[in-house]
């Protein structure tokens, strides 16, 4: 979806505010919201792509004015309701519905460290998706405007680049976000010359790399 989240190349978002000695969380509630996101994900009722897609569908004015963790909080509420883990009435009253079963949390405190810092990526040798491209090959990002989720930013669409590296096999966000299957594909690091993306105002020596799924690309 050509949404408000896809900001690459916009120029009117103001100066970058750099905070010195910035805390990890600016208030207690931010850490709790971060924790909700990570613990609730363990129920596997949704996936990371769906979380991003849910956030992308916040009304644009809200997306831009909400703080980061406020956006997350609203996404979590929506996912809780859509997955039926929680009912709207329960959110309103703050109390579990009468007779609802008491569950056992999917993520326990003792599993936090290993889950978040000890995992190994296993996607390089995943079966079922032959690569269509190889390092050094010229490709073009497709000119596509799906109404669903995608990880092909607008600023790269229609532009030509060079495959830098095959990064391995990953679920396709476009279908995974909508619970329509993982459709694993090769992801490539694709190098675009800056003037190809931005015209003569870009420095000819500069480059932008994007990680793009196989089906986002066509031979150039």
């Amino acid at each position: 979806m050509n949404g408000v989240h896809d900001v690459g190349g916009m120029q009117d978002m103001g100066p970058i505010h750099i905070e010195t000695n910035e805390p990890v969380f600016h208030a207690r509630w931010e850490g709790r919201v971060y924790g909700f996101n990570r613990t609730l994900a363990a129920w596997r009722k949704w996936n990371l792509d769906n979380t991003r897609w849910t956030q992308e569908r916040l009304p644009p004015a809200q997306y831009l004015t909400m703080s980061y963790y406020e956006r997350w909080f609203n996404v979590i509420l929506k996912q809780l309701i859509e997955s039926k883990l929680v009912t709207p009435t329960e959110i309103e009253t703050g109390k579990p519905a009468k007779g609802s079963p008491k569950l056992t949390p999917a993520l326990r405190a003792e599993d936090v460290a290993s889950t978040f810092t000890k995992a190994r990526f296993e996607g390089r040798n995943r079966a079922g998706a032959a690569p269509r491209f190889a390092a050094g090959q010229r490709v073009r990002a497709r000119n596509m405007h799906p109404l669903g989720h995608t990880r092909l930013p607008r600023y790269a669409r229609g532009h030509a680049g060079t495959i830098e590296r095959d990064q391995g096999v990953f679920p396709l966000p476009d279908t995974n976000a909508a619970f329509q299957g993982e459709n694993p594909q090769h992801v490539y690091s694709v190098r675009f010359e800056a003037p190809e993306l931005w015209g003569a105002q870009a420095k000819p020596q500069d480059v932008v790399y994007l990680d793009l799924w196989d089906s986002y690309l066509e031979p150039a």
Binding site: G8, M13, F36, T39, L40, I76, K102, L103, Y209
Partner: protein, 248 residues
């Protein structure tokens, strides 16, 4: 503001102004935000927070715990993990090792996941790390234009500026201008490589080792390596230089 869940757009725009920060939080005397307002000035992008958010988050936590969906101790452990255990010091260890051991650096640049695992470290489920090297002629900088992808397992959680639309939007179109805002001016003969984290690859910049560090130990080197140098918005300063005293 205190009772309104949906302030008007004009009101929200007003609240975006830095001067409004203190007034907005004054409406929330019991929350953590008022303390926050006293701790540092509000020159960043996260202040337009409805004052009932503290209470709404608290209410949701009670509900989730009562339903057995969330273990409160797990929430505490997650917050503790990112406040005290996982942060830029992990990335700095990796950088220092690479500076001292050319063979390790080669492995790190070729297969970062395996090289990071050599140090007893891991990553996040479903993600793969890549380490990209700065040289006198190449400067790398990392961004996520579509959301806020960041190498949590080696740098912890990102600063607010990394997640801001200002940084996300302009880094791809005007990287030299953005780096200038961090005080980094790059020569014309340096190539800027911007890495937009559009998939599940997570990028760590291997900054250049500064001069004057030949005698330093691995841990002394690691202490020089800043978060921003591993994102690519600054370089690592030599020990004792003025910018080292305000390092980030």
């Amino acid at each position: 503001m205190a009772k309104s869940k949906k302030p008007s757009l004009a009101r929200r725009r007003f609240l975006k102004g830095a001067a409004a920060g203190a007034a907005a939080f004054a409406a929330n005397p019991q929350g953590g935000e008022s303390q926050h307002a006293q701790e540092h000035d509000h020159d960043h992008d996260h202040q337009a927070v409805p004052s009932d958010l503290t209470l709404r988050v608290k209410a949701l936590e009670s509900l989730l715990v009562e339903k057995g969906l969330v273990d409160r101790a797990a929430l505490d452990a997650i917050v503790d993990t990112y406040e005290h255990k996982v942060g830029p010091h992990i990335g700095a260890r990796i950088v220092a090792r690479a500076w001292l051991d050319a063979e390790y650096k080669r492995r790190l640049l070729t297969d970062a996941d395996a090289a990071i695992a050599e140090l007893g470290l891991g990553g996040q489920q479903g993600q793969s790390m890549r380490v990209i090297e700065n040289t006198p002629k190449v400067h790398n900088v990392v961004v996520c234009t579509l959301c806020s992808c960041y190498p949590w397992s080696v740098l912890g959680l990102p600063p607010v500026w990394y997640k801001s639309t200002a940084y996300r939007s302009r880094t791809v179109i005007d990287p030299r201008g953005v780096l200038g805002e961090f005080g980094l001016k790059l020569a014309e003969d340096v190539q800027v490589r911007v890495w937009d984290s559009t998939a599940e690859l997570r990028y760590l910049v291997l900054p250049e080792r500064p001069p004057g560090t030949e005698q330093l130990s691995e841990s002394e080197l690691a202490a020089l390596v800043t978060r921003d140098s591993m994102i690519g918005t600054r370089n690592v300063s030599s020990p004792g230089s003025s910018s080292q005293t305000r390092r980030k």
